[in-house]
Symmetry: none
Subunit: 220 residues, 4 copies
DNA sequence: CATGAATGAGCATTCATTCAT
DNA sequence: TATGAATGAATGCTCATTCAT
């Protein structure tokens, strides 16, 4: 009896999409490309159909609603982005064996940089709609926060215990670092027309260095 | 056959808007409120007319196009935001008499924080449409960049000459600091439903401190 | 705070239709003709628009919904049919000065026969939709019953007091006579393609005679 | 090139329906229930398929058209209703051995009352579509008339010869009695949400008594 | 025989824009 | 100058029907 109807619909529709036919794939690809370029509100279902080489009715047979099609694009991406965003990295990186928070941060930054690059178009869709539509944001934000926060707090606590991090409150630390990093991803993959020069590793060094120095003198 | 037809129209219409009638004021206010809330694409001109207590035809008599109405909202804001963003602050702050870059940054941060808070709704409209519509961004971005860059480089050069800043390339410095600060504004005024606690000065100290430490060790 | 939302909408929309423009008249006429012929469900708004010589959008500007257009057809007819159906006749007929119930019945029969003939097409629409759509019937029936019953009971009581009618319960009497008469109207104006021969007066004599003899021997 | 193409199709399809598979039975049942409730026009084939637990294609494999499915519902009912309506009753009732027309009428009324109650849902479908769709009515009416008229006239003539009936024209007598009785069935099974109280025999006495007294004084 | 994915014409409705008053 | 009725193209969506498997 929880309040998350969007999330519920997300899960429901996600379950149905076990085997995607070739046509569904094409529909999704076209939708992603068009939503990414012009935004959901400025894309018509007939455009999507034309680009997919599919009848317009076919879209509705599979997704029922234009809104549902958007969810079919966003949801799997979000479900792979959110918990994973820290969990997977956390494990992959074997924090115990890491030199410290700096290494963890660097690994995570590189991991997400590549993930978002790999899914650049969906990332665009998600960011655009997330900024554009207050209700979507209001409904999703709590869940997103929770999923990220849980895992990140675990990591932060671990490194605090190791004496690797200043005694800043977890929340403040996260609200400082996360938007900074995420903002750079948005800039790079959503707003910029092309990626800036320089290797991923250089970028990682630059960003992580900035953050580490920046939080160096912090007290809560 | 110049490339900036939007900008041209922007400037032209901006000049015309010297004397706005009461009705135009009401139209603009309603448009801003609705665009901010639901986005340009999801707002109908009839809604704007109803909220303004004005006939729908009146909107078109004044602005000709819905798109033009959007520009009439965005342009003046942009024109007051951009060059001023550095120039005015630069002067207001009397850099020569300042202790250094840190003071300049702090003053500028506070100045814009208050300006965007004062114009929160228009800020929302601009950010939303800027993120949502690639063509708008592509056409405006160069002008925005130019206006900001010119003034900011002047300031950066001044403080570099004073030995107040590391020998990082102007561009890299700007691309580090500007998105960081601007991202926090977006988070606070566009994405969050309410402003976080804490005084403006505390926030300024926090942000400026982080940046100053962060850029402390940089080399280009 | 009563439950009659259809009736409420009926009244609301009826109030708005104070001055009907020429175009609204044409739209209504076309809608009536088409609804009468093919039924509401089998008539498209584009058909109505074409027949009215009006753009499809114009229909929605005036009536908002196809359903509302149906109500705009039905409601005024119902409002003029129902209470009047007995009240007006009751007065027009001056029951005190009539020879008795037989005269009253005859006057009423003729009055309604002519009214329905005059509004044959709307009558068709109302009957068809009333039979076809359970929810419409369920929502309207109580109100219709009330309006008719109140006035008819008054008349019946009056004639009972005069000794003109057997001591059958009002309800049973009404449920015998009303469907019989109304059924003949439906047959004549809705189901038959053309009216049967014979003058109205002959038909009235026939029907009233049948009823009077039929109820002659009744006991409750 | 005869005029009764619907009837032809009716007969043809009726012959084919000798052996109905279980699936066809389920399809027909679902169609009847849905048509009865919401009307043919407001029922989709996919709804019928879902309710039948059958693929949508299966419906079209068996009936070819949605319209044909409707006929497959209506036709057998009509074929059992019409001639039987008088013939079977006529025989079952052994008119020769009856006390007279009153008994015949009473037996017939009871017979049909029970038949329509038994097939209430199909009766609803038939009445609704018959009222709603002029072309269906126009095509079927002559045949219905013929089937009923032939048998009824035979009965009427018989009772006239016995001196049991006034010398009213057969047609006028039928057009008086038939709609009256049929109208009560429609009221009871189609329009009312539940049947009125009272036993079938009481109702029969009431109706037949009314008719007998009513036609008592008739002259053509 | 049965399926259900695919179709595409058709539908009610919306909305930016025009124009006579 | 302001109005608001009128427009018609475009939109999201439905649904009877087809057909390859």
């Amino acid at each position: 009896m929880s309040s998350d109807n969007i999330l519920d619909r997300m899960m429901a529709s996600a379950k149905l999409s076990k085997k995607e036919t070739a046509k569904q794939q094409r529909i999704l690809q076209s939708a992603i490309a068009l939503f990414a370029e012009k935004g959901y509100a400025n894309t018509s279902t007939s455009e999507i159909a034309k680009r997919s080489g599919v009848a317009e009715g076919t879209i509705f047979r599979h997704y029922g609603t234009k809104e549902n099609l958007l969810l079919a694009v966003i949801v799997p991406f979000l479900k792979e982005s959110l918990p994973v965003m820290a969990q997977e990295v956390f494990e992959e990186v074997h924090p115990e064996k890491q030199a410290g928070f700096e290494h963890f941060l660097r690994a995570m930054f590189l991991n997400r940089l590549r993930f978002f690059r790999e899914n650049k178009e969906i990332f665009r869709v998600v960011v655009k709609e997330f900024v554009y539509r207050d209700e979507l944001r209001n409904e999703l934000m709590p869940h997103i926060n929770r999923d990220i926060v849980v895992y990140m707090f675990r990591a932060i606590d671990y490194f605090k215990a190791k004496g690797d991090l200043p005694e800043l409150s977890n929340e403040r630390l996260l609200k400082l670092v996360f938007p900074f990093v995420f903002g750079r991803f948005v800039l790079r993959f959503v707003l910029a027309s092309e990626e800036p020069p320089g290797s991923d590793e250089e970028e990682a060094d630059f960003v992580v260095g900035f953050i580490m120095r920046g939080i160096g003198g912090l007290r809560s």
